[in-house]
Amino acid sequence: MKDNQKKAWLFLAPAIICVTVFSIWPILRAFTMSFQGGPLIDLQFNGLSNYQYIFSDPEFWRAIMNTAIYSFLAVPIALIISVVLAWFIFSKIKHTAFFETMFFMPYVTSTIAIGIVFRYIFNGEYGLLNFLLKLVHLPQPDWLDNPSLSLVSLIIFGIWSSLAFNIVILMGALRNIEPNYYVLADMYGATSREKFWRITVPQLVPTLAFLLTVNLIGAFKIYTQVYALFNGQAGVGNSAMTAVYYIYNKFQIVGTPGVAMAATVVLFLFILFVTFLQRKLMKKVNS
């Protein structure tokens, strides 16, 4: 067979054209636009002033802080809950498939629709959450309208949404663990806890590393959850402003695409850096 089958380009053409126009070009364009000022229809080169602007904009720093707090709280908490749930479902009970199906439901459903339900549950006056808190004599804060709590509500919503993916991936990984390890451990009289810490957890490390980075990258890009939970705003007084929300605001609402693209470039480089760390980490874990 020929070594250079030129017809391959014919089969790849639709994909390559689409990718060039809608993936490669927009990345380059985002970089160049970040050095331009003015509205979309009249962009002019203005050097580094967009970068100067965002780094001296308190709103930008708040967006970064919020995104960081959200990511570094919601992701580990969700991951720990997911590991415990996946382990229990996998090893302790029957009807594994039933529970797996149930816990995966949030993954396929619209964030906006579920956001409406959460807004209702979180409601300060007639919300179900505060009703339950009242039953056990705990304070009933205004989850959505109190600026200092918006991030907490967002984190709760974020954890709820991210369990599904974690559990299903972890169940897949648990099924892949060599069953003989457990048989052997049983022969030596290992307890359930020993089996979990000595066999399960070490075997799950690559999956956990994978989930950690995928979840973190997802959390850095959080946008729709904010929109859904605060009905199109970034919380009261922008208290739940996140990085992508900031970008959207600067691009679409304020009409300063250059500033938005400067923020995009910063976010993009940061995500690239985390992805790079993940690759390194995975290589180390796998070897």
Binding site: A8, V117, I271
Partner: protein
């Protein structure tokens, strides 16, 4: 002694799964029930769980107050188009990458792999710019154009295609079949499972898309379901029961698809992970 300890352990296990199971499922149930309540029932304290009478008329009001039928149609058209075209372009691309040898293959592979790392949010705004320049705001073409191929799904399909022995391809060529025939008569039927999974995942993510349609549409008649729902939630204001009914409308079709194809969907998501 040991037995007693075990039993307490199991109680904890059941409790843990039970609590999180309720937390996971309850919002769905509450959404469906709340969508059938009266406004008073949704806002009383203590909260109502089961509506006294099931007010199906809420749904009628939702359809009267916002063009949800149109949103459904728009969403279906965009999700179906992106799914079908993405499948088509990904099958062709994956075939070339799996079965053909050509100069520059390594380079293409490298570009594709690097692009997998690019977050969608970083390119969505400049894509908006492109679509606006082409004059495609508020059109179906504008809604689907950037999503007509997916490197991710191409890789996913490659893992199915490489599982088919290359000798089958050689045999087909010797029998005088064209590449085109090989793709549609052998490759596609033999990778049905993978194709169905890609179709399901692509359709569901199309159905749930939010940020892109928010950017490229501002006319009510071109809105997709989720954008229509978000707008409706702001406009309907305090009409909690109608908001919940509208949310139910958005979620139920996907849940039905999910329950029918749950095995393919879950397996597909898990397999994605193993590739990464």
């Amino acid at each position: 002694m040991k037995k007693k300890k075990l039993r307490w352990g199991m109680i904890f296990v059941y409790l843990f799964i039970g609590i999180f199971g309720i937390i996971t499922v309850f919002p769905f149930i509450y959404m469906i029930l709340g969508g059938l309540m009266s406004y008073q029932e949704t806002t009383t304290i203590p909260p109502t769980l089961i509506p006294k009478t099931l007010r199906w008329s809420n749904y009628q009001k939702v359809f009267e107050q916002a063009p949800f039928a149109r949103y459904f149609l728009n969403t279906f058209i965009t999700a179906a188009t992106t799914t079908i075209v993405t499948l088509f372009t990904s099958i062709l691309g994956a075939f070339a990458m799996t079965n053909l040898k050509f100069k520059g293959k390594g380079f293409i592979q490298l570009i594709f792999l690097s692009l997998l790392m690019v977050p969608g949010e970083a390119i969505i705004f400049t894509n908006y710019n492109t679509i606006a320049h082409l004059g495609l705001l508020n059109t179906y073409l504008g809604l689907v154009l950037p999503f007509l191929t997916s490197i991710f799904y191409m890789y996913y399909l490659q893992s199915y295609f490489t599982a088919i022995s290359p000798t089958i391809y050689k045999a087909a060529m010797i029998d005088g079949a064209s590449d085109w025939e090989y793709i549609w008569k052998i490759l596609v039927p033999m990778s049905k499972g993978g194709l169905i999974t890609v179709a399901l995942l692509s359709f569901i993510s199309g159905w749930n898309s939010f940020l892109w349609p928010l950017l490229v549409t501002n006319e009510d008649k071109m809105r997709l379901l989720n954008n229509g729902l978000a707008a409706f939630a702001s406009d309907a204001g305090a009409q909690t029961q109608l908001q919940l009914a509208a949310a139910t409308l958005t979620v139920v079709p996907v849940l039905i698809v999910y329950f029918i194809f749950r095995k393919q969907i879950i397996r597909g998501v898990v397999r994605n992970d193993l590739k990464a």
